[in-house]
Amino acid sequence: MDEVLHPIGSTDEFPPGSSTIVKVGRLEIGVFNLDGQLYAVQNRCPHHGGPVCQGMWGGTLLPSSPDELVYGADNKVLKCPWHRWEFDITTGHLLFRSDKDLELTRHEVEVKDGTVAVKIARRIAESAAA
């Protein structure tokens, strides 16, 4: 796929702990700053197409024995607001099952000279500029 790095703003606009939805044409991307590291995923849940990036962002309860509950994955988990499916924002993986068809679409993030850019399809970047 022909992709380009598309600038979406300065690093000041995506401070640590922030979650922001940016629009590039019709594409919506959620940008999350997890302890200084930026992650970008498409704002579209693979389940029913819901606005996954508007869901709760935090930790979750990890697999454990029935006798104990273990909280973890701090700020790595996004819960889709429609049906609460949980995704790891750092990998895009669905938590309840390993399934390539049900992963969040991730966008590579590059930070250079104070500017944040995400890798997106060229045609989307071009139609947004038009």
């Binding site: 029913h48 869901g55 819960k79 607001p81 609460r84």
Partner: protein, 371 residues
């Protein structure tokens, strides 16, 4: 007040309809009954109901996920959704292209579990007036149910009489409680429903929590997953109760819509009830036909929640088994958190059944009042 306004009906025939939604949940603005329903209550009742709400989940009973049952993007600053008819109309009628939406008022869902018939009937009546006035009155694409109170059948009869002729009313809504639907206590309601050609609508309720409500089964649910897995059981029991009392022989024109319990459970019930009837026919000699036929003739079910099995072809098989082309009605369950998007549901229904489910079964059930 209800009945006072003239509705302007959009001029179209049912052939123009593309989508009927048989389960939406308009909601009172704050949930404080005295405040929200004030114009529709006497002064005494407005004072008595100040700060009161209809039964809901008590605290400490399994936390509700994602902040509740609502799609988060629809939640307003008060933490509620579907409180504004204009906003809801924009979503349902404009965005999702629903032609008619049947309202099952959120605040009335558990009304049957109020132990005191006085506030129950007062609230039911005021809710009927409020939503006919402010929702149907604002947009003639909304359709209302007459919420009755199983705690007081006499009042319920009068309420049906009062509202059955009001434009926009399409059904009688019974908020289920521990009363069994096959009981003779309900006969006057069924007589009226039959006479006025109004279907009876029920909805999934809070169960297994209050003694006034239905039990879940063996015992209380341990957590929300357990609850969602088992919450259909008391409704299956109610449906079996209707058939086994011979309600559909006594009231051959009566029809029920059981909303928000989905439909795969119907396959097991049909097979099981027929299987045992073959040897137990003399227990129910008033059933002239196999019990499953009464189910398919008189019980309607809604698409929500749409099943998600591993193999989607299995859903198609189930749709054939339950004769979905006559029994199944589309529903969004707007604005609840797992509400179904029309296009995604439609594409999973075999083409020869699709329009039946998305439009025609609702037109058949609700009749001309829907149009």
């Amino acid at each position: 007040m209800a009945g006072a306004q003239t509705l302007v009906q959009p001029s179209r025939s049912k052939a123009d309809f593309q989508l009927i939604d048989c389960d939406t949940h308009p909601t009172l603005p704050t949930g404080d009954l005295g405040r929200d329903l004030r114009p529709y209550l006497s002064r005494g009742w407005a004072e008595r109901l100040e700060g009161e709400s209809t039964p809901g989940l008590p605290s400490g009973f399994f936390y509700t996920p994602t902040g509740g049952f609502l799609r988060r993007e629809l939640i307003d600053e008060r933490g509620r959704a579907a409180t504004d008819p204009g906003v809801s109309a924009a979503t349902l009628f404009e965005e999702l292209k629903v032609d008619r939406a049947v309202m099952i008022v959120a605040d009335a869902i558990n009304l049957g579990q109020m132990p005191d018939p006085h506030p129950a009937t007062t609230v039911a009546g005021a809710i009927n007036d409020y939503f006919i006035d402010r929702w149907v009155g604002q947009d003639s694409r909304w359709r209302a149910c007459i919420t009755i109170a199983p705690q007081d059948i006499g009042w319920s009869m009068a309420e049906i009489e009062r509202l059955q002729g009001v434009p926009g009313v399409v059904a009688i809504y019974v908020p289920l409680n521990s009363s069994m639907l096959g009981s003779k206590l309900f006969y006057p309601v069924y007589e009226a429903a039959q006479e006025y050609k109004l279907p009876i609508v029920t909805h999934i309720t809070l169960s297994g929590v209050y003694s006034t409500g239905m039990t879940i089964g063996a015992g209380p649910s341990v957590n929300y997953l357990d609850y969602r897995a088992c919450q259909v059981y008391p409704h299956i029991s109610q449906i079996s109760n209707l058939v086994c009392h011979g309600i559909f022989e006594t009231f051959p024109k009566l029809k029920f819509l059981f909303a928000e319990i989905g439909f795969p459970w119907l396959v097991d019930l049909m097979w099981r009830i027929d299987q045992f009837w073959r040897g137990l026919r003399d227990q129910t000699p008033f059933l002239r036909r196999p019990p499953s036929e009464y189910l398919l003739d008189h019980i309607r079910v809604a698409t929500q929640p749409w099943p998600e099995p591993g193999n989607p072809e299995h859903v198609g098989a189930m749709l054939e088994m339950i004769e979905a082309d006559r029994t199944l009605l589309f529903a969004t369950d707007y604005p609840h958190w797992d509400s179904d998007v029309p296009s995604r549901i439609a594409q999973q229904i075999p083409e020869h059944m699709r329009r039946r489910v998305m439009v025609e079964n609702a037109v058949e059930l609700f009749g001309d009042r829907l149009i």
